[in-house]
């Protein structure tokens, strides 16, 4: 749990987030402090303790597979920054 393990530039690539060199250096220093604080959790004895992903037990919630009103194609595209022919437009993915 050594905070020096954090490589902000690498994690930023995982997160699809282009950081400037200045941001990378700043976050590296600031998050090292945060991780230093967080490392206190090592003091806690968690042996035999179940992890809590959620505060209540969750169950699958099933419903009948019946059509319900949803967004129209026009509505679904309304907030999109680029569309054409009723589709979202992205840069070319396949050569």
């Amino acid at each position: 749990m050594a905070s020096s393990d954090l490589d902000v530039a690498y994690v930023a690539r995982l997160a699809r987030l282009d950081l400037t060199p200045e941001e990378t250096a700043l976050f590296q220093a600031q998050l090292a402090q945060v991780l230093e604080h967080v490392s206190r959790l090592r003091e806690v004895n968690v042996e035999g303790v179940d992890p809590a992903a959620h505060v209540f037990p969750l169950f699958d919630v099933l419903r009948e597979d019946e059509p319900r009103p949803g967004l129209t194609q026009e509505e679904a595209l309304r907030n999109a920054p680029r569309t054409a022919r009723d589709l979202f437009i992205v840069p070319k993915v396949i050569e």
Partner: protein, 486 residues
């Protein structure tokens, strides 16, 4: 009653006037509009307002409905069909919601009118509202200071009579902390009590929507309408819904109130300590039994919270990629360049910091050491509360360790900013309900007075109990009647 006095009223007071036909819903909105025009340039609580749409709704309002004709300000992270929902972020600057959040459709069905979108820390990430990409909000009690966050606009609007009441969201204290720092009532319902459908997700296992109001009765009124199971949110709970208003007048004599010793530690401001001690003595005089209890893992809540909340945020915010909605970087070279630059240009510094931290604690090699360990400590924090609630009916504690700090004071120090939430994080991790109510004031060296908040925490789904306790305190004190000098 002059028109200029209308914005200062509570929901209940307005209901009486509207039903007696002494005022119209249109007049209330016009009065609010004038008040906002006059005051908000100093406070910056609002991001946008659609007066014409609200006036149309006001003319249609059925004042006999439970919230008929009552205007509510909505934090700009909760969807209202046709309105912007910017989340205080450049990445959603032009986004318009296509549907109503369940809380909004329920409030509208009860006759409420949504009027005004309030400022927030970007994606509700912050404790001061300084992380808004648009502008910071100022504390109505001292405009050199922050209103708290992330629901800072919602709290400041209610505190300065620019709203009758408002909605906020609370992931780690974002309703209670600004309510405390602005001197209003702020309720975080138990996890699952209120639907999250239509709330833009920050940390899905922690987020809840709740009311900010001038009185505890108003909070009970709003919760009554907002609460309940929703087929569109599988984490909402199908639990019996009590009549919150009917239960409010039950006296607190004989109730056992726990005072968690870990919440009265070094580092808490002396004025806060004094106010909490006085509140404890007050409950004693009302006939409640005060019991010292221990929540041994309290000091680990902040660390647990910032691992779990950022982990969930990093996943939730992956959806902002410049394709389906919001900001998009110009002239991308390829898909990765589109994602990377859209997010770099669209998100502010605090959101980026949290995405990095959250991605890191979930990443291969670190998941067990951070995320899994935090989930286990979360279990221990829940167990602390479960044990305490075997002995007491509710817990009382400060809502914040100190009154409002100055704008800019902590912007460069994220860790110190995070510590503003030390007394509120645990309730979200445990899924319990909690409310902050005004309980005193601290004098600043400059001569201004800053509100202090008392937090009442109850077991999951026991909102009726904490509302009853908060109401008893409020009815026998005068703090909630004070208004900032504006």
């Amino acid at each position: 009653m002059t028109k200029a006095e209308l914005p200062g009223l509570t929901i209940e007071e307005l209901q009486r006037l509207l039903r007696a036909r002494e005022v119209t819903a249109r007049e209330v909105l016009e009065a609010l509009h004038e008040r906002i025009e006059a005051i908000d340039p100093q406070i910056d609580a609002y991001l946008s307002r659609d007066l014409d749409a609200a006036l149309d709704a006001a003319d249609e309002a059925d004042v006999n409905l439970s919230l008929g004709g009552i205007p509510l300000a909505i934090k700009d992270i909760i969807s209202v069909a046709g309105q912007t929902c910017t989340c205080g972020s450049k990445i959603l600057h032009n986004y318009r919601a296509l549907f109503d959040a369940t809380v909004v459709s329920r409030l509208k069905a009860a006759g409420a009118i949504t009027f005004g979108r309030t400022n927030l820390d970007e994606f509700a990430m912050g404790s001061s509202t300084e992380n808004s990409s648009v502008k910071p909000t100022r504390n109505p009690w001292d405009q050199a200071r922050i209103p708290g966050g992330s629901s800072g606009g919602s709290a400041a609007a209610v505190a300065s009579d620019m709203a009758i009441a408002s909605l906020g969201t609370d992931t780690g204290g974002s309703i209670r902390q600004p309510a405390a720092l602005c001197g209003v009532v702020g309720l975080k319902p138990s996890y699952g009590r209120v639907s999250r459908y239509g709330l833009v997700a920050f940390a899905s296992s922690l987020d809840q929507v709740g009311p900010l109001t001038k009185t505890v009765r108003d909070a009970a009124l709003l919760l009554q309408v907002m609460a309940g199971v929703d087929p569109n949110d599988s984490t909402s709970l199908d639990a019996p819904l009590p009549d919150y208003m009917a239960n409010l007048e039950t006296e607190v004599r004989g109730l056992r109130l726990g005072l968690p010793k870990e919440y009265l530690v070094e580092g808490i401001a002396p004025e806060v300590r004094t106010a909490i001690d006085a509140a404890v003595a007050h409950f004693d005089s009302l006939g409640s039994e005060i019991v010292e209890v221990s929540l041994p893992h309290t000091s680990y809540a902040i660390d647990t919270y910032y691992i779990i909340a950022t982990a969930e945020a990093s996943a939730n915010l992956a959806r902002f990629d410049g394709v389906r909605y919001g900001y998009r970087a110009e002239n991308p070279r390829d898909l990765l360049d589109l994602y990377g630059r859209t997010r770099a240009e669209g998100f502010g510094p605090e959101v980026k910091r949290r995405i990095i931290l959250g991605t890191y604690v979930l990443s291969s090699g670190y998941y067990d050491a951070y995320y899994l360990r935090a989930q286990k400590v979360r279990t221990l924090i829940r167990q602390d509360f479960a044990r305490a609630f075997e002995k007491v009916d509710a817990l009382i504690a400060p809502a914040t360790p100190e009154p409002a700090f100055r704008l800019g004071e902590r912007s460069a120090d994220p860790l110190r900013m995070y510590l503003a939430d030390i007394f509120t994080n645990a309730a979200n991790l445990a899924g319990i309900c909690a409310i902050s109510i005004p309980c005193g004031f601290a004098k600043t060296p400059e001569g201004s007075e800053l509100p202090i908040g008392l937090q009442v925490m109850g077991k999951a789904l026991d909102e009726a109990r904490i509302l009853q306790i908060a109401h008893a305190y409020e009815q026998s004190t005068e703090w909630h009647r004070r208004r900032p000098p504006l």
